[in-house]
Amino acid sequence: MLALILILIPLIGSLLLFSLRGSNAGVSKNVALLTSLIEFVIAAYAFITFDSQTVVEVKYAWMKDLRINFHLGIDGISLLMIALTGFLVPLIVLSTFKFSYKKQESFYSLILLTQAALMGVFMAKDIFLFYFFYEAALIPVYFLAALWGGENAPRITFKMFVYTMFGSLFMLVAIVYLYIKASTANIQELYAAAKFISPASQNLLFWAFFIAFAIKMPVLPFHTWQPDTYSESPTPATMLLSGLLSKMGVYGLIRILLPLAPVGLSDSGFIAMILSVTGLIYGSVIAIQQNNIKRLIAYSSFAHMGLMAAGVLSGTLSGIQGALLQMVAHGINAVGLFFIIKIMYDRTNTRDLNSLGGITQKTPALSIYFMIIMLGSVALPLTNGFVGEFLLLKGVFDKNAWLGGIAGLTIILGAVYMLRMMQRSMFGESNQVTAKFKDVKGTEVAVLLPIAAVVLLMGIFPNVFLKITEPAVNSLLQLIHP
């Protein structure tokens, strides 16, 4: 029942907002915030009361003759993603409180619709339901990005849409193939059936799934839609894309690709890992060159996703556990960083590192929040990025020491571009653009404070999260290495 409520609440909120069209603008903000807060409380309840022994499931017949069910369930991996979604969406809504977007009701309605679809993706136990929600999450974000974005948004977001749809269609073929072979759509039953699929088919399945998820994350060479989309979209849409939608790709790798194509993983996984690590280095190097902060964070996201993909594809406990932890950490950090960029842009009207600088003197609070989140992103010990990145690198290293060594460069490169960004934007002499920069207050603090707090808490107590996912990851690993 809990699983169903988690989907229904944002869905009802979204429909309510949609029916509010044309009413007082302030109302829709509050309705959206209230809905997402209720959702957060329920997600928190699910998180606290979680027990890996009890099975939380709902199952309704969806297409009887095809044995396709509306089947939701929560295990440790799902729970982590639910918690992340529940935590981030209220913050994303709150981050928009200072601005008024046109057609607010539709704007917030689409955000909540995305949340409902995301919750569905992370809980789906039926492979068609998974696909259904996976696609459904994209449509509202596409409209958010295209309709409220910058001048070039229609063209750029269209590219994103066609790109990701193209990838998903490969996944659809793979799903249909598996479904016909195993004549079941239940993911758990498909795991058992996957063993009997020939190695040649498994390799094709591996690539079909990998392309779909790699485009979503994105992983080299499927990333070309990402920097433009992230920088042209309105900030809430960018937050959704980088904080949550990209995680659907990693989640898909863990939940769908690894257990359904284990032979494909051992045959082709290494090539995919090389792609991911290349993307990681490539993204980091480009991020060092960037002067537009939003693009810089976009490339840093791309680099982080590459490491997560490599960790998952290593097929080791530490790699997958690290990826799960890093998904949460990166989601939170990305939302925080994009929000800070938004704050800077609203006050100075520029995202250019050359025109910024000298902000720290006037903004002690913003500087501290920025510093904490930035250090989380650099993966300093005692911040949330550290444990995840460490485990990821260990996973890659266990698989192949050379690749692990190359991936380890990310620690240095990450520090270079992040510290460069911090130093060029915040420190130094203030100029006429930044002279009247005001410190954060009100709702801005309400967004940044929880994020900064979680960055530290997760860094100090990573075990809370690792413990939750460990049983689920172990049972997955038994399927991969029987």
Partner: protein, 464 residues
């Protein structure tokens, strides 16, 4: 069987209603007649049987297909309000011909005898030739009608030739007898003209559903015909045509699958590639929809190739999903293009949709859902339609066909989004568009249907 009787009688009544001074009664009367036929159609539910000296079969599958045809007809006729306001129009004749054409379409869903198939195809086609040219002052309409007539009668001739050969091979026009005869004879004992007959019959029918390489008439005819009849052609003719193709292949020729599947696969691949690639560069919305209809013929052929025990469900579902979305799209086009004339003709390019979200948010929403459904995006009926036909093709192991279809679906997403982008992201040029409440209701039904079937596809499939 009953809808055939009902529509034959009401068609004649409609002709006489044309003598009345007031033309206002015609539209409600026709809608009433179609509803009557729809109800008569449902009367036979769960009462399968053979009628007219074993010429026509009625079972739940044919009833569902007829129901889709009649429902589409009801919705399309409901949208034709603006058409009769024209002084030169002869609404009584058009409505009568429409009803007669439905008789042909329904015959094609349940024929048990090849003669019945031929009569059905001819009734439907001849009606369509007339309706295509119904806008007498429009030169392109006349050209389209002539083109359609010449090529259509040629295709009918080939089909008749095929039927004659099949008669020679099987000594009967009855499709069940044909099945039995084919099963009894050994491979070597089968006459060559059996295979020639199958090929010719297929060519004739594939022409009617505008599958490549027999699609050349489609864009010109679709563009030239009045939009209301284009809608009719692209939904009802297609549903009836696929019902006929599936029926003959499933009943008579399933035992010689190895003979015809290669041919059908080639036609499917051609349909998918030619239509989708050409549609990308179309500036006219109506031409784009014409190519889209060719591509959907390709997708539906995938269900035919699958010929699994689920193929009939797939064809029913796909027909309905496709018809609903197409009626919405053409409905929006009709409402929008009326406002702006270029060279005395309604402007039917994609740019006419610019800024539709500001000029009429309702129409923009209808357009968006219909394009999403045609593109096969989840949450809409089109997605499940695609999923079912893909599953059918996968059932026979045609993985490469699936890959082609997937690639072409991706291309499809590209051009189906052009109207959405025009409607939501381009600046508006025209005035605010107002539409009549009845028009709104019809478009509301089609869109609601697309979403409902997208969320609960079992609603339709549980009927089977």
């Amino acid at each position: 069987m009953y809808p055939i009787l009902v529509l034959s009688i009401t068609g004649i009544i409609t002709l006489f209603l044309g003598f009345l001074k007031s033309k206002k009664v015609l539209l409600p009367a026709t809608l009433f007649f179609v509803t009557l036929a729809f109800l008569a159609n449902l009367y036979d539910w769960n009462k399968p049987g053979l009628y007219f000296n074993n010429m026509l079969q009625v079972n739940n599958f044919t009833i569902l297909l007829s129901a889709i045809i009649l429902l589409s007809a009801f919705l399309i006729i409901g949208l034709s309000k603006g058409f009769i306001d024209d002084d030169h129009a002869q609404p009584a004749e058009y409505f009568a011909i429409l009803q007669f054409s439905l008789v042909g379409a329904i015959m094609m869903t349940g024929y048990q005898n090849l003669i019945m198939l031929f009569i059905g195809v001819e009734i439907l086609s001849v009606s369509m030739y007339v309706l295509t040219g119904s806008d007498k002052r429009n030169l392109r309409g006349n050209e389209a009608a002539l083109k359609y007539f010449l090529m259509g009668s040629f295709a009918t001739g080939i089909m008749l030739f095929g039927i004659a050969m099949l008669y020679g091979a099987n000594y009967s026009f009855n499709i069940e007898t044909a099945r039995a005869v084919i099963l009894q004879t050994q491979l070597a004992g089968r006459p060559v003209y059996l295979f020639v007959g199958v090929t010719f019959l297929l060519i004739g029918l594939l022409f009617k559903v505008s599958a490549a390489p027999f699609h050349f008439w489609t864009p010109d005819v679709y563009e030239g015909a009045p939009t209301i009849f284009t809608t009719f052609m692209s939904t009802i003719v297609k549903t009836a045509g696929f019902a006929a193709i599936y029926r003959i292949l499933e009943v008579s020729f399933s035992s010689i699958y190895s003979f015809w599947w290669v041919m059908v696969v080639i036609m499917t691949v051609l349909s998918l590639i030619i239509s989708n690639v050409t549609a990308v560069s179309q500036g006219s919305f109506k031409r784009m929809l014409a190519f889209s209809s060719i591509s959907h013929a390709g997708y539906m052929l995938m269900a035919v190739i699958g010929l699994s025990n689920k193929s009939d469900d797939s064809i029913v579902f796909y027909s309905l999903a496709y018809s609903l979305a197409t009626i919405s799209a053409f409905g929006v086009l009709m409402a929008v293009s009326k406002e702006k004339l270029v060279d005395g003709r309604p402007d039917e390019s994609i740019t006419v949709l610019n800024g539709l979200s500001k000029r009429n948010p309702f129409l923009a929403f209808i357009l968006a859902i219909s394009m999403l459904s045609l593109a096969g995006i989840p949450l809409t009926a089109g997605f499940w339609g695609k999923f079912y036909v893909f599953s059918d093709a996968a059932f026979r192991g045609h993985i490469w066909l699936l890959v082609v279809a997937i690639l072409m679906s991706a291309v499809g997403i590209y051009y189906y989004f052009k109207p959405i982008i025009a409607a939501y992201m381009r600046e508006s040029e025209g005035e605010i568009i107002s539409i009549k409440p009845f028009y709104k209701i019809i478009l509301g039904i089609t869109t609601f249907g697309s979403i409902l079937l997208g969320l609960f596809p079992d609603l339709l499939r549980s009927l089977m």
